[in-house]
Symmetry: D2
Subunit: 414 residues, 4 copies
């Protein structure tokens, strides 16, 4: 057991931190101005992407690589502290080709794509030439139980016919948006096993019947890339667009969600560090009732609690990343759920305190806090509600209890 | 002691509930569409104002009336359950001429205005012909300690010269906006007593040097009436625009803030009732993992906790209103602070649970929840941060302790 | 609506407060010394009972009285502030013949006893000549669901035969202990309705087969009156010992539990006031790091939060007592559950803060805090676990939702 | 970075777990019976000590050893999981010569004792022949600020004269109790530096003037070894009994407290694992309202939250132990404070949930839960109140902020 970052990681952290300071932060204001005007800030992003790639800071998230794939092959454990640094500026990940939902899509294409799919969709993604989306959640059913999902994928000769309504298809408004991965029911027969009924299909932008209904605001933010409600109205794609085999949807979704969740957590930790820094700076800069804010014991408590909670979340995230590396995503299921719950709460807790120290300014867009706080709230639902993750952890624990009780004689405890 | 609403109140509640159902709710969608387009929804509001006044539902908030003032003379205790009903739709209060900051402004003009001020400013406010603002908070100082406020009001002959920057001047973008009440330092002499140095001055819209710098978003919402940053750059008004006597600013502010805080709390309680209703409806309408959401013990806990917390907040609010009626705002200082802290927290707590039951939809603007939740967060700062109110309550408690200990011999307790 | 105590109540409060100061507090130390030695402090209690009765402070809890019953006929609303005062010293209620479980037993005997039962058991209880217990909870089943309870009451000719094991039979070690009310299954037939299967039976001390197995510590306290585990081994009593009719057990239990719960809550509020007083006194008496504890903002927050929470609990308790008076125990079911949950939590919360301000001394028996804190924890289970009460409140809320949705057309809210 | 226990540690864990199962658990009931009778359970402990030492499970806590000292030389990181296992039975640590306050005393004697002190006091401690205490806290001052401590240590010729009253001198009633380490003011001169005024002195049992005033209950428990109030009334010991140099008291106390705190945390984690196991077993064994407790979503939430919190505390504790190993106790000051706060809260949180699942039984002494819960509460004060630790963490954080702001140009964040 050892809690020190490796030399390789420390060196990457230093490089990335410098890149953030020299290239990202100076562009931050411009990015926001363009985004507010309703245009995607490609003019900021694209030159930075070129710089990042030139600096070797590219596809940092992708753990296992073919020798001909571009990017830095890092383990999840190595990536974690870098994800944290990128997260400090919410739009920065895209510069390093590390932004959701492309990261998850690249991972499953990497694992499940056919050679043709790989060439047509994965390679341009890996090079940052296109962007992609994923369409899972549906407005008409409680989507946190994915067996409820009702979009249909029916085979008709050499084609698949897709019908359904999805929302939170993030990225569909991005100028480079090229395709979405649609999750739907491909086997409606009565006898089909519950977790073998769904599939993933690639639907390219521009396919007839595939339309954007509206952009949906998320906690009153409008992201420039969109969290769109989309309609699949008799959309037809070739059977070759099926990802993996028919009925493999659940297995692919599971493979996809693990790393994606942990990436969100990394960014959360970075954003909480920013909030804590801001809180401390403000507490040292303002006085009320003849006393510096930083000299009030309740504000000191908030600072200390934030430090403790961030540190605990970081450790759990690193442990989870390590477990994914050494034992696989499935073996780390419990830990992934745990850090997912912890990180989303962390973000609202730490940012809430920072906002309160900032006073009225904390409620405005003059600091990143109001955005981060509402985004934190959204994270308690995105990637599955807390309650579904807690339920999964409890079921694991109770299963272990049953095994222990079955194996052991009664144990005297008191 | 008696916990029943009077017949008069029950009858007004029934009348108001009906008005809300028949006139406000059917206009709700239209109000939002216009507001989203960046226009103030006067075309919705003005006809409703006429109807409300005709129905006798007018100026319900104003406790003591001259015989010639329009409206229903109600006590705070009588107003409380009506404020709750109006609060169910955030924009509804204006229809009944009961919306902040006009309500507070009418109250202090009612008490402190000269006959000329009364005629020029109070009367049109009471008739809903104009709207007003109040300018207290400043971006450059920690305004939760009002002795920090630095805008200056200097006498120059028959004129007052005002210099300073304010923000959260709510209502300055309203089409009927007519004046703001500015709080500033009128006595900068060294010997001036700390709480006798500030005054309130009426600054009409259009006065040279008084300009709107920008609208400031509050938790990423833009209100159609504006939470504006405003500049006073050598603004000159006649000395007759001084409200009350010079140096009375603190006393006037105290008189103003008590009822205003309690009005916010009333509305919060109404909004929490809406959130609880929505939460229950959704829990009965959706299923996951083969079970109705409403059949999950954790969601049942959320529903019950919400009911308990709303009921407790309502009781404290009614008690506070009653105390203000029988003993005055100052005597109810501790209770006003208490309910202010309780209500703001209540709003984020109850709405948070409702959002989680709603799932992804709760994060969108398809329900009022995302707005109510972020507004609840803002309420923890608006009208003074929780911490300043808690501090005040503790100081009262400790003062009482000192008196008790001084008066009494030691008491044996165990 | 009115939040003022009546003159009658204010006068009784003054009288009771004086009695507590002049008679109870000076005996407090002696009571504890005797109790610690393992003897019931009757020598302290009995003379005080005579004094209290002479002063007219007797049976204050009993709302409705026959003209020939001793004591002050008070409503629940009138009793509440007196229960609070008595609660300040945990053993004081007995002095006024107001202590559990006798209060509940007197109430149900008052309502359900036959003339013979009344003469033999109720009258001596009302006069404080005997004490009683109630035997409901069983160690072998999850008793928070009373349909689980398994003790049997079988008719055999003119006798009832009782078999079973109960615990938390409080009072069975009291020197005046005369009988217990046993709750058990009297109808084991398959067709019996779920809530008509149980009965209550009076079992006098000394009945063959009725034995005390052990005193059970509750949060590591041993009460001098005992929280006993008791055994009913073929206990035979005459059929005349049945309370009310056969199968009426659930109805009687419901009638019994409502007021009893509210009485606990009154005492809790009084105990929290004591804890808050102690906390403030200690905060004004001790310094660390060059500053009075009372000058630390976090401790000020604790004081203010405690004041707010106590005030809110008191209001809910008074409202509940009022509702029981005007509408009956059953109509106040939701409020009784609510205050039960609130008060038990309140006690651990407020006392916890007081302990922390006291430092190491707060952990010892040199203050009442350690006792009050652990007792508060027990209250989260006594009279039904929080979760059962929350479940009941949620079910009421969801029932109301269904009615509302059935009656109303869709309501537009946003 | 690596989260796996080493082979050495895994092998020791297996050995220790087996020892606990084969030797400690079968003796548990007997230990409690003897302790309840008021006798120290030496007849249980001493044979087990011999067995443990023979098995090489001895002085596991002591990181650095002279070659001639008995025991297993382990790092803090290696010891942590073993401390966790020992903690599962609160009295077990003594069997392995790993119980407080001896562990801390051995550590400081190891570092600061003279050869004579080492021979007379440290060696028998290391061999488990005697037990010791430490006397720091005083009833008359707020001892969480150690500069308040007022016991005096005055030099008179070759002797030191000690006067003062201490409490929470744990172990003074142990049959092997041999000496206590007293912390007091040795330099009362005005010019003395605040943190150079105190010293530690060894006071052997039986020294005239050193007496036990009373055993003090801690959360209503009486430990068989005593948490004693002791009096030093003109106690005279040779100057050679001074530990380290005069004025080194603070430095020694700091050295002592770090590891001691982390050891408490290890045991807490073990005890929380026990509570979680019990909670799961009970939830699978009991039903209410026709449903297994384990099938209720709120109880599932409690189980999952407990698993998450335990895991997070364990990681922070391991990280802290690791940091103490690689950088020293002083460098790990912030982490020690953090885990100290986290672990004490953890214990009340997790055990609280387990108690609630257990129902009434959870309140009795029939499970270890009631003891563990109240002990957890005490831990929030023992080794320094949470608030002092939080204050220290905040001060570190604010110091870092000042350095960062001084070094850096303004950073653009949004």
């Amino acid at each position: 057991m050892d809690f020190e970052y490796s030399n390789k990681v420390e060196s990457l952290r230093a490089q990335l931190r410098l890149f953030m300071e020299q290239h990202i932060l100076p562009s931050n204001q411009r990015w926001h101005e363009i985004a507010r005007s309703g245009v995607y800030p490609s003019e900021v992003i694209e030159p930075l992407k070129a710089q990042a790639r030139a600096a070797g800071l590219w596809n940092l998230f992708l753990p296992a690589l073919r020798t001909d794939e571009p990017g830095t092959a890092l383990s999840n454990l190595e990536y974690a502290p870098l994800g944290e640094l990128m997260g400090r500026v919410p739009w920065a990940s895209e510069v390093f080709n590390c932004s959701a939902p492309d990261t998850g899509n690249m991972e499953i294409l990497h694992t499940f794509a056919s050679p043709e799919q790989r060439e047509r969709w994965l390679d341009p993604l890996l090079h940052g030439k296109i962007r992609s989306a994923v369409s899972i959640s549906e407005p008409d059913v409680a989507s946190s139980d994915p067996t409820n999902l009702a979009t249909t994928i029916d085979r008709d000769g050499d084609e698949l016919v897709i019908n359904g309504r999805k929302w939170f298809t993030t990225g569909a408004l991005h100028p480079l948006f090229a395709f979405t991965l649609v999750f739907g029911v491909s086997d409606r027969s009565d006898g089909a096993a519950r977790h073998r009924r769904h599939s993933f299909v690639i639907v390219p932008v521009g396919t007839p019947g595939f339309s954007i209904v509206r952009d949906v605001s998320l906690m009153h933010h409008h992201s420039p890339e969109g969290h769109c409600e989309v309609l699949f109205d008799n959309v037809r794609v070739p059977v070759a667009n099926l990802l993996g085999e028919a009925g493999a949807g659940f297995a692919i979704a599971q493979a996809r969600l693990g790393p994606g969740r942990v990436h969100h957590c990394m960014r959360t930790i970075g954003q909480c560090e920013v909030a804590l820094e801001l809180m401390c700076e403000r507490a040292l800069a303002r006085s009320t009732f003849g006393k510096l804010l930083a000299d009030n014991a309740n504000i000191q408590d908030w600072i200390a609690e934030s430090r403790i909670e961030i540190e605990q979340a970081r450790l759990l995230n690193l442990k989870t990343a390590w477990l994914m590396d050494v034992a696989g995503t499935n073996a780390a299921k419990r830990e992934i759920s745990a850090i997912k719950v912890v990180a989303a709460r962390l973000q609202t807790k730490v940012v809430d305190r920072a906002m309160q120290v900032f006073g009225a300014k904390g409620l405005t867009a003059d600091t990143p806090l109001a955005f981060l706080w509402t985004w934190g709230r959204a994270l308690r639902y995105i990637d599955g509600p807390d309650e579904v993750h807690l339920r999964g952890i409890a079921k694991e624990e109770l299963k272990a209890t049953k095994l222990r009780c079955a194996a052991a004689d009664a144990v005297h405890r008191n």
